[in-house]
């Protein structure tokens, strides 16, 4: 039977806590970076369909998004609505919105502006066609149908 050694004889020095702030800062930075701040509050559901032949959307600063889908607020019905920035919009508002988006970019970047269509999968094409027609009228030809990764045959 071993004897318990008396406490306090060999004192273990306290772990230095002076680096604790650093670790905390590190964690803070980490979360700051990984959490993507949503620049708009989504008012419509956008469960996007899947596709395989997809490209990465380069240079996020040059992408403006149009959200189309059934409203989250079920009181507003299930018909798909268009959301620009923070508000619902009609197809006729798109031209002005695109011009505003162009205005906020530098001259050199304007030709590379892409419009990302984030559309709920159950949306009817009628709304999407209207939006596309408006985009054509205003000369925003680069579009991207934002999708998830996965087999398109499962949609």
């Amino acid at each position: 039977m071993g004897k318990f050694r008396k406490e306090g004889k060999k004192e273990v020095p306290q772990v230095s806590t002076s680096s604790l702030p650093d670790i905390v800062y590190m964690l803070i930075f980490f979360f700051m970076i990984t959490t993507s701040m949503r620049d708009v509050e989504l008012k419509v559901k956008t469960a996007m369909p899947k596709a395989t032949e997809i490209q990465k959307l380069e240079r996020k600063a040059l992408v403006s998004s149009i959200y189309i889908g059934p409203p989250r607020d079920t009181k507003l019905g299930t018909e798909s609505r268009i959301q620009l920035d923070d508000a619902f919009a009609r197809p006729s508002d798109i031209a002005d919105w695109i011009l505003k988006e162009r205005e906020s970019r530098s001259e050199a970047d304007r030709p590379f502006l892409t419009t990302a269509l984030k559309v709920h999968k159950e949306t009817r094409m009628g709304v999407v066609t209207d939006v596309k027609q408006e985009l054509r009228k205003v000369g925003a030809f680069r579009i991207n149908y934002t999708t998830l990764k996965g087999s398109a045959l499962e949609n």
Partner: protein, 186 residues
């Protein structure tokens, strides 16, 4: 009196922390969006004349409001679309029923047989977006496979192994010839 364990020097702790921070900064990717990129055609002028295209050069893909597919007038399934589109766009110089072909010369590639075929896509206002994306995806897949075949034939490499100039040449030799019908106003 027992010897005291010397305190661990913690002055480098901060450096390690910053190192880790930098590591995570570089490796974590912010949520990236993916999608099918397309270029819309410029708006049609009122007085533009309809471009006449020979019937053998067109493959009609129609989707109705209940998401059923009609390829060249025949009811079809989405799983067949890729193969049909690829078959249609493969140049066949001696076949009277498949699209016309022309020979063009490209740098890096030399003479290339190009099909004059166009895939015409028409959808109803009631078609679901999911179906539309599936169709677009299958058509894109057909063209990507044609590009892949061309890359293998000319360079013995896969598309993703080609350098920038080679990729550009292939993209020019195998253009994505999908035309969306103007929406019909009822």
């Amino acid at each position: 009196m027992a010897r005291k364990v010397p305190e661990i020097n913690s002055s480098s702790q901060a450096d390690i922390a910053f190192l880790l921070l930098c590591f995570f900064l570089m490796t974590t990717s912010m949520d990236v969006d993916y999608g099918i990129t397309r270029r819309l055609p410029p708006p049609v002028e009122q007085n533009d004349e309809d471009v006449k295209v020979k019937e053998r050069n067109v493959m009609n893909v129609m989707v109705n409001k209940s998401d059923r597919l009609l390829i060249n007038g025949r009811p079809s399934d989405i799983s067949m679309l890729k193969d049909l589109a690829k078959d249609f766009m493969t140049p066949r110089p001696n076949d009277e029923t498949s699209p016309e072909v022309e020979t063009k010369t490209f740098d890096l590639l030399g003479d290339v047989l190009m099909s004059k075929g166009v895939i015409s896509l028409q959808n109803d206002r009631g078609t679901s977006y999911a179906m539309y994306i599936s169709v677009q995806n299958e058509l894109a897949r057909a063209f990507n496979e044609l590009k892949e075949d061309m890359a293998w034939k000319k360079f013995h490499k896969h598309m993703d192994q080609l350098n920038e100039d080679q990729t550009k040449a292939i993209n020019e030799a195998v253009p994505v010839r999908v035309s969306e019908a103007e929406p019909v106003v009822y």
